[in-house]
Symmetry: C2
Subunit: 235 residues, 2 copies
């Protein structure tokens, strides 16, 4: 029987590649998304559309309103910074404890499904400065998972967190995905897209994505706001 895996899946470039890798490694992927009050809800619509195309056995979208807690430009009434120099500092798009919340739900769902493998597309290289994307954080959650659950305590298996993108550059992620047949025209990464799903081309997430395509020597197949396209040409 194919082993099940829960894959954290936002519909963006990284998590879509991660889903393709889980499948290529022989897992039956169960995609998990969150409606967490993010500005970029259009990303979620893309995720829903693309999950079956990517071979997800099931796609669960859990409602959790992180706006109730506040504290981030992705959920609160703060402006998403544009054209920021991406360095080691933690940006205002940081959502407090986001990956911890996401992984907690992934763990709960994995336990219900009888899965012991969880994929998360974090990246420690082009990582935009989030503390909960680092290897030491992932190791700590894996340790927690094996203490937190009935399935682990009853020795039915050992939870493993898979982070296949953790040491790849954006360019390498894109090349990996293309080799696995990912069609990136169905993914959206922008933190602040238009209602029609046009990417802004200037937030951290767009800048990293565009840098990735440049590194891979390719053109990003998605549409950007015309003004962003123009600026990109000038660079």
């Amino acid at each position: 029987m194919t082993k099940k895996a829960v894959v954290l899946y936002s519909g963006g470039l990284d998590s879509t590649t991660c889903l393709a890798i889980a499948r290529a490694e022989g897992f039956a992927p169960y995609a998990l998304s969150f409606a967490y009050g993010q500005r970029h809800a259009v990303e979620l619509a893309k995720a829903r559309e693309n999950a079956p195309r990517m071979g997800a056995i099931e796609h669960l979208v859990v409602d959790i309103d992180l706006r109730q807690i506040g504290g981030s430009a992705l959920t609160a009434e703060l402006a998403v910074p544009k054209g920021r120099k991406i360095d080691d500092s933690i940006p205002v798009t940081y959502v407090p404890a986001r990956n911890t919340v996401f992984l907690s739900f992934a763990l709960g769902w994995a336990e219900v499904l009888g899965a012991f493998d969880i994929f998360i597309g974090v990246n420690a290289l082009d990582y935009s400065g989030y503390p909960d994307c680092r290897p030491e954080y992932i190791a700590a959650f894996e340790n927690l998972a094996n203490l937190a659950t009935r399935a682990a305590v009853e020795k039915k298996g050992t939870y493993r967190l898979h982070t296949p993108l953790i040491s790849l550059s954006k360019g390498e992620i894109i090349r990996t995905g293309l080799n696995l047949g990912v069609d990136y025209s169905h993914t959206l990464s922008c933190y602040d897209p238009t209602a029609e799903g046009l990417a802004c081309g200037a937030c951290d997430s767009c800048l990293l994505r565009l840098k990735g395509f440049r590194e891979a020597g390719l053109q990003d197949p998605i549409n950007y706001l015309p003004v962003a396209e123009k600026e990109l040409e000038e660079k």
Copy 2:
């Protein structure tokens, strides 16, 4: 300035005592509850009523529907067992990854509030068999918290999980609470109360609570279903 603490607060006996302890230790308590699709939503109504009375500075109720994930008698369409012999086995009322989900939100809210202290009323003695109530689990979460967050990475403080009830018997918990002025008539612990808020007297939670009051040589001030009262008298 008084230090803030986030207190996980269900409105039941344990978490209400925990809130009283946080206050007695000099913290400004921020109470956090969850509407997680539990059968015992009447507990939440009691929690809302009682939080200001207990001195909570704020009471946040976060909506998270754990029913979407399933797998527990507390959230799914399974029957809550009655009159069960309470032993070391993990009961069907176990909610997958529940405390991990709850603590993740507590951590996120703590970070937004600038708090570094989180209180959780877990109990390893009369604990009803949940793996995520054990000291080694709590230690693993504390370790995770200090890797997961911007506040910790930027060395603004160190997260500490407080588990003041962890080694107390139910009788000791009740005596501690009474010494701190807790009025237990405003708390409800039952997993399966009536719509009017009458406790069943037969689920694990009721059995542990009633045992606690017996140990403390006291009468539980809340109302039980008449049939339960009768059985109790016969015991």
